[in-house]
Symmetry: C2
Amino acid sequence: MASRSDTKTRILDAAEKLFAERGFSETSLRLITSKAEVNLASVNYHYGSKKELIRAVLARYLDVFMPSAQRAIADMPKNGQTMDDIFGALVQPLLELNKLRADGTTVFLQLLGRGYIESQGHLRWFITTHYGGHLDFFVKAVASCVPHVPQVDIFWRLHFTLGTVVFTMASADALNEIAAADFDEHNDIEAVIRKVIPYIAAGVSVPAPNAILE
Amino acid sequence: MASRSDTKTRILDAAEKLFAERGFSETSLRLITSKAEVNLASVNYHYGSKKELIRAVLARYLDVFMPSAQRAIADMPKNGQTMDDIFGALVQPLLELNKLRADGTTVFLQLLGRGYIESQGHLRWFITTHYGGHLDFFVKAVASCVPHVPQVDIFWRLHFTLGTVVFTMASADALNEIAAADFDEHNDIEAVIRKVIPYIAAGVSVPAPNAILE
DNA sequence: GTTTAATTTAAACGAGTGTTTTAATCAAAC
DNA sequence: GTTTGATTAAAACACTCGTTTAAATTAAAC
């Protein structure tokens, strides 16, 4: 099999890079196959369709990240954890994606952002049905950390948080350029992650107005 | 001029709705003109190109919202304002967009989100150059409210906030359905806005880790 | 009422898309 | 060495896209 390095993974490697920086619909199969130096038809041969290629690209990261993230949460000490600690526990699993592939962390978060914003709902469905167990585990950890916040508010705030992360990562490159130009602050992906944690931790754990005068 | 109601605004009305719910690149001129019941070529006749149509759609909202929002901030009492107050001052200008057009608030926020995420940078440039004055005014109001947060962190956190709002509004319908089914909580757009304010206010004003040990 | 300009229309253009087809090529099994 | 099945290759297919053209129509000016 396989002439040089596997055609199938050459496609995945080229696709994830282009998807992350240009979005899914803005990236043509011809651009992917030319970057990967493979034939155009090989995408449909190996993956069936562009939509399934997109899922394969995301799954390759989620299959690594989701169990790793759940383990990190589960291994936390059971008492006295703050929201900063919970979100902070996700940093290591995220950064370890860099060992998987170059710029793995950035690519993964950008892909996640693109996935949630583009592709009206069908990727959201893919993620929640394939990784729902891991997500539930995370939500329970958050809920037990902020018992003063009603369940329904936790629901809303975690979606606020998803929006924060996803939007930031999708435009991380542009924002980093501005930060470098206007504030002479040169951030890598880890610096941005560490900046966002206090923000989302404070938002999730702030007392809910309705809960106070219950 | 104008056979029935102005063709130019018929295009704008149809375009903003479709752009908001499907994104810019996913919305074809043929879909817009068929919904608007005008001829395909009239878009290029009246607006020159699709790109300029997108800008016109956004400008129609921004020209109303930006001055209105600035006035709301300027009219605030000068002392003792919290971050909740500042963001709260934007609620009225946002909701008044509903008088402009049906679902104006939601459409505007969704368009803003699409604009920042899609169209790599050229719409971000359009907004900052045309409405930079209003944005600066708002940033200064925020900065003077949280003097303990460094400027660069305010920059980042306001973009986090943009992501929170924009992402939430883009999926507000789906989230409201889930909230109604899982928690029996039936929200309209204003209720969601009032839920998000404590979240983003807490995130923006939380002490920055670096600033503490400066 | 004729002229003039603005607008609308239908049709085509040229480029780009994902996908399919058919033949060529390759590696291994017998 | 031949056969077999998997992979690669080049080409075409059937669209869709934004844009342009040129004629038809409409509205306003004189």
